[in-house]
């Protein structure tokens, strides 16, 4: 039984053959790392963004089977997906929440690289392509929520069209090129952009953007997948109202990644300046930042001006994002009064945020440097490690498998009863449990490689020493035999395999394994 997991069967040989053939492909230039223990996801946020892109690709491709990019059918086909098609609700919610997660992950990824100065050391091309990918990602998300063609989508398209139109000289032609004329063209063109042109551009940029060293952390990927499903289960995305040109639309706000821009638009200042020039300036600043950042060091603490600019941008984004969402709830006022943001107030706040952010940055750097100096003076603390005894690894693992079985039944039962969101929620939990399982599996494997020091009771100590001396003597005699028997025929090295031998010859298990009982009950 044990041997079957090691034997060279035809399937293993096929995989080896494929792996050898991959040698001729571009993938051998990439170095994949699968972490063997928990590592901070901050370092591989880009990989997580890419995983979300793949999830979006798969769920989106499936949604394409049912979505109809036709003016009077678009909204109805989405309703059909949501309400009628089996698992359409699930896929639509995964697609929607994964899109939000991807935008969020891309932003976090960018700011992490920004503050840790990773765009230096010849990473400028990675940074510039990354910014372009970020812009296209937002356009991709924007076109995505427009092709539902609900009331909100129609408003978003009309705003986007008027902004494009406001660009001097080229604007009207660009509007014709991207939007066509009329609602019918909008829906069809945005669909073409959403499912083909933008993704192709994204993939093209990604091939340039991918660094050669990649980290793929299975538990983190599964945890994010689970989190998306759970969010979909708790906050299922609604349909909105079908757009009808004869009905005055209600108040809607765009998706959260565009409310910052929406706040500026609501100040009723010139369209080109607020809607095109400001975001353009923001993107341009990000593009050139590696070339104007002349600090020799990487840490945010050593690059005060760049850090302050970054903090300012975050402050302004947070404030305007909230502001864009906020609509005066007083219904007695006119619609215009509720929507319009006083430009003087808005711009004053934006300017006031600059010195505030600079001061905050200065304070943070002072505090961080102080803490650093203090930490140096004190003796280094021992790294805190969570240790789960090996026996408990198996107990927890088996308990989790039992939980998985229960969840599988529960998810299916929820679906049979028409509770789609609960089924999606439970499948999300299954993903999370898998993340936990994989983590424990990793822990168990690393324990097998480096077992903790044996817990020998004091009274047995002398006996143990004697025993280890004896087995050491044995092991020296049996040295050649052991090396050959380890995997081919474990039964031969049965008794000898058990003790200090492994420590001596293979760097493996130590004497007196505290969990030996569990395995040899004879």
């Amino acid at each position: 039984m044990a041997a079957s997991l090691h034997r060279e069967n035809s399937l293993v040989r096929l995989f080896r053959w494929i792996y050898a053939g991959v040698d001729r492909t571009i993938f051998m230039g990439l170095k994949f790392t699968f972490p063997t223990r928990f590592v901070s996801p901050l370092g591989f946020l880009g990989m997580l963004t890419f995983v979300l892109f793949i999830i979006l690709g798969i769920s989106g491709a499936l949604l394409m089977l049912w979505y109809e990019p036709i003016l009077d059918r678009a909204w109805d086909s989405v309703e059909n997906i949501n309400d009628t098609i089996p698992y359409g609700f699930h896929l639509r919610n995964i697609h929607y929440h994964a899109s939000n997660a991807m935008v969020m992950m891309a932003i976090l990824h960018m700011y992490y690289q920004y503050f840790s100065g990773r765009y230096k050391i010849r990473n400028e091309i990675l940074w510039v392509t990354g910014i372009l990918i970020g812009v296209l990602t937002i356009l991709e998300a924007f076109t995505g929520y427009d092709i539902i063609f609900s009331e909100r989508a129609e408003l978003a398209i009309s705003i986007a069209a008027s902004l494009t139109n406001s660009i001097p000289i080229l604007g009207p032609d660009m509007r014709d090129a991207f939007f066509g004329s009329g609602f019918h063209d909008f829906v069809l063109r945005f669909y073409a952009f959403h499912v083909f042109l933008l993704p192709i551009a994204l993939i093209g940029l990604m091939t340039v953007h991918f660094p050669r060293f990649l980290v793929f952390d299975v538990p983190m990927v599964m945890a994010i997948t689970g989190a998306i499903m759970i969010t979909g289960g708790v906050f299922p995305v609604d349909m909105g109202l079908k757009f009808d040109p004869n009905v005055p639309p209600g108040i809607t706000v765009p998706e959260w990644y565009l409310t910052g821009l929406y706040a500026f638009l609501r100040s009723q200042y010139d369209k080109f300046v607020t809607g095109v020039a400001w975001p353009g300036l923001f993107i341009f600043t990000l593009l050139i930042i590696p070339f104007i950042d002349k600090y020799k060091k990487f840490s945010w603490k050593d690059r005060p001006l760049v850090t302050a600019i970054g903090i300012t941008s975050i402050a302004q984004i947070v404030v305007t994002t909230y502001w864009g969402f906020y609509i005066d709830p007083d219904r007695t006022k006119s619609l215009l009064d509720r929507l319009v943001i006083d430009p003087i107030f808005l711009y004053t706040v934006m300017i006031a945020l600059v010195p505030l952010s600079f001061g905050f940055t200065y304070l943070m750097i002072k505090l961080a440097k102080n803490a650093e100096a203090n930490a140096k003076r004190q003796p280094r603390k021992k790294e805190s490690v969570i240790t789960l005894p090996e026996k408990w690894v198996y107990f927890v693992f088996i308990a989790l498998i039992g939980f998985q079985i229960y969840l599988n039944i529960a998810a299916y039962y929820a679906l049979l009863n028409g509770m789609k969101n609960i089924s999606l929620f439970i499948i999300g939990i299954i993903m999370l449990v898998f993340a936990g399982m994989f983590h424990i599996y990793r822990h168990g494997r690393s324990m097998a490689n480096n077992p903790p020091p044996p817990a020998i009771p004091q009274t047995d100590r002398i006996k143990a020493i004697q025993r280890s001396k004896r087995s050491l003597a044995e092991s020296i005699n049996d040295k050649p035999e052991l090396t050959t028997t380890s995997s081919a025929n474990p039964s031969v090295g049965h008794i000898k395999n058990n003790g200090i031998l492994n420590k001596v010859f293979k760097g493996g298990r130590k004497n007196k394994d505290p969990y030996k009982k569990m395995w040899s009950r004879d």
Partner: protein, 203 residues
């Protein structure tokens, strides 16, 4: 590797292998829910568990007392709220009252037939020709001819196709006490009502 045998003989398993088996079980269980997601692919709109009216093009329900002998109409099944789907060739059926020599005079379901109008050869739309000497279904494209009593092709390229692709899919009909005609819930299977555009086995 560092095998810790459980029992004597060959039935042993190392703890690392046990861990691997647990991980494999966990992986299988994690992806089990997605097996059922395959239901996303087929279109469920064609299957219904209710019987539905035989709706004639003028909007009325077909009745054995008023529908003429040796006469046919094109009907839509399953009927949808969507006008585009209702124009779908795969949803058009030829509703025939057989000529009197085939038992069309009887005021019961056996006097009626409903065949898919999609020709089994190359998916043109055939129709029933009631004229004397014809009284058969004819396809305008390559001249396949269908027997109105059974739906079997007896001439033309469709007749040369091997079963089940030489017999038209057929809907089961029912007459209520007022004489109105109903379509029974179909079983889209070559051994049941058949597969539109592919065919049906004659029992």
């Amino acid at each position: 590797m560092s095998g810790q045998p459980q029992a004597k003989g060959s039935d042993k398993i190392s703890r690392r292998d046990f861990l691997k088996l647990l991980a494999a079980a966990g992986t299988v269980l994690t992806f089990t829910p997605f097996v059922d997601w395959g239901k996303f692919l087929p279109n469920p709109s064609g299957s219904t568990t209710d019987k539905s009216k035989v709706a004639l093009p003028d909007g009325s329900q077909a009745n054995v007392k008023t529908f003429k002998v040796n006469h046919s109409e094109a009907i839509i099944y399953p009927i949808s709220d969507d006008p585009v789907l209702n124009k779908e060739a795969f949803r058009t059926w030829q509703f025939i009252r057989l000529p009197s020599e085939l038992g069309g005079e009887k005021n019961e379901a056996s006097a009626f037939r409903a065949y898919s109008m999609v020709c089994l050869h190359l998916w043109c739309l055939w129709k029933y020709w009631p004229g004397e000497g014809r009284k058969r279904g004819e396809c305008p494209c390559h001249g396949s001819m269908y027997d109105p009593a059974t739906g079997q092709a007896f001439a033309g390229p469709a007749a040369l196709q091997s079963p089940p692709s030489n017999v038209l899919p057929m809907l089961d009909l029912e007459v209520d006490k007022d004489g109105y005609l109903w379509i029974l819930p179909p079983n889209w299977n070559v051994n049941g009502n058949g597969i539109v555009g592919y065919g049906r086995f004659i029992a």
